[in-house]
Symmetry: C2
Subunit: 175 residues, 2 copies
């Protein structure tokens, strides 16, 4: 059975959407993902803004409130019958997020075994056939085939097969 | 550069020693590791005892107090100059331990990058040349070469190269 590792932020969890929603509420601005095409968050926010974003990421329970990206639950459930699914999330930059991320996964993906959760940093440690991730640097060091999940910051990245929604993932792996 | 994944409990951290020390203090008994050769903890404790052990494992900050196994710091430091060292610990059974384990690693192994920490369940996900671990089932599913680190429960296990101390690890990888 082939094994697929799936990243969490921006692939399963709309972390950027939640960060921007908080930022808009607190700063009375109108910034959306549309303002970020081809850019990282730090390139479109003032320095003070980046500090605020970091404070959200560090705040207790932030990760538990993040919405699931549309279609992810249904497609992953069906994929889990045909593939070994591992969830591989970069958690080491925000150690206070470990437990929140674990609870989020248990709540929204109760059909996945926690034995298949991996909280890591450098994703070159993953032994899997595929990695679905929005971060080009994670795909670059991964040993299997990296599949790029579209996020504002990576719209200009080339060199990987790309999916822009869970419908695309469905078509690629179950179609 | 070859990559070595290193388990935490019973390899870097004397978790069993700390559990038994607490148990002796609370229960006024004299059980030691010598009473456990070839056995798991649940085989030598009464059912109530196993419940107590679980309560220690679940208690806040338990993992932060565990002593480092002798020689581990010095040998890993020297190994980190010749190999890529990743720390791979089974943390999913005790999600409340994540942050404690992270802090323990940072305090005692500040020369290792958190990018090389992996909190996981099933260790077959690790992409490494070697895994040093006390659990035969982790070595069985690992894709590289598994090196068995001696612990009371595994003294009768065969089929792997065995190390019984960090001096042995030193001799195997740096000798």
């Amino acid at each position: 059975m082939q094994r697929i590792a799936v990243d969490m932020d921006e692939v399963m969890a709309d972390t950027l959407g939640e960060l921007l929603a908080r930022y808009r509420r607190e700063q009375k601005t109108s910034i959306t993902k549309d303002d970020m095409q081809g850019k990282w968050l730090w390139q479109v926010l003032p320095p003070k803004g980046q500090e605020l974003i970091d404070s959200y990421l560090l705040s207790d329970g932030f990760f538990e409130e993040i919405p699931v990206i549309e279609g992810c639950q249904e497609v992953l459930l069906r994929m889990s019958r045909r593939y070994q699914i591992f969830i591989a999330t970069a958690a080491m930059a925000f150690p206070s997020s470990f437990h929140s991320k674990y609870r989020w996964l248990r709540r929204h993906f109760d059909f996945l075994s926690p034995q298949n959760f991996v909280f890591c940093g450098d994703k070159s440690i993953l032994h899997a056939d595929y990695l679905i991730d929005d971060m080009p640097r994670n795909l670059a060091s991964f040993q299997g085939e990296g599949i790029l999940f579209t996020a504002p910051h990576n719209v200009n990245t080339t060199g990987y097969r790309r999916v822009s929604s869970w419908q695309d993932v469905d078509a690629m792996f179950l179609g």
